[in-house]
Symmetry: C2
Subunit: 118 residues, 2 copies
């Protein structure tokens, strides 16, 4: 939309399809994850989408990428940056708000969600 307000800018890219899922996928488990590894963990995503979203997140400084070109095939891995990890806290707050105020009966409420693992 092209905003000047920080809040709108931030939500604009966080809100895109797959973005949150990718962030949470990178948040769980191991530090560095390979492209295909991320892709396989999100059954429905296309390489095009994953590629686009990772590029955006890298530009926003939430994700970093390291490439080992000496090996073949090239090994490319991603992880959350510091800011990226800190954002998870805010997302967790959002979840707490939702569970407190809106969700009446959800498996999400009884336990840590298996999907977002928050």
């Amino acid at each position: 939309m092209d905003h000047e307000c920080t809040v709108y800018k931030t939500v604009d890219y966080l809100a895109k399809k797959w973005t949150l899922m990718i962030l949470l996928e990178l948040y769980k488990g191991k530090e560095w994850k390979r492209f295909t590894e991320i892709k396989n963990s999100m059954k429905e995503i296309t390489p095009k989408m994953l590629s686009e979203r990772l590029a955006e997140l890298e530009m926003e400084g939430l994700v970093e990428n390291r490439i080992d070109a000496s090996s073949f095939p090239v090994r490319s891995e991603y992880r959350l940056t510091g800011p990226g990890t800190e954002l998870i806290t805010v997302i967790h707050d959002l979840k707490k708000w939702a569970l407190k105020n809106k969700i009446v009966n959800s498996t999400c409420a009884n336990q840590d969600c298996k999907i977002c693992i928050l």
Copy 2:
């Protein structure tokens, strides 16, 4: 997208165009605001969009509507509910995160933003 995860569900509707702007518009100033009053404060929005978004937000329990049908023209007013107001806190946290981690030089950082007023 049709998620089962609380977090995704929540972001799915918060992320729609105009939604955040409407919430913040209702957050500032007076308690109850009329349809046209909201519309005029957001120069670019069409009545269709405002109507759709308000309906969604009402369904989600973030906004409530009262109608005075005895007057003519009918007087219809909106305001944030309790949960709606609490959400503003989370949005504020998101802003703080963005200013701390991402925004280098923004008028937003020096003062409360004139747009989101957070």
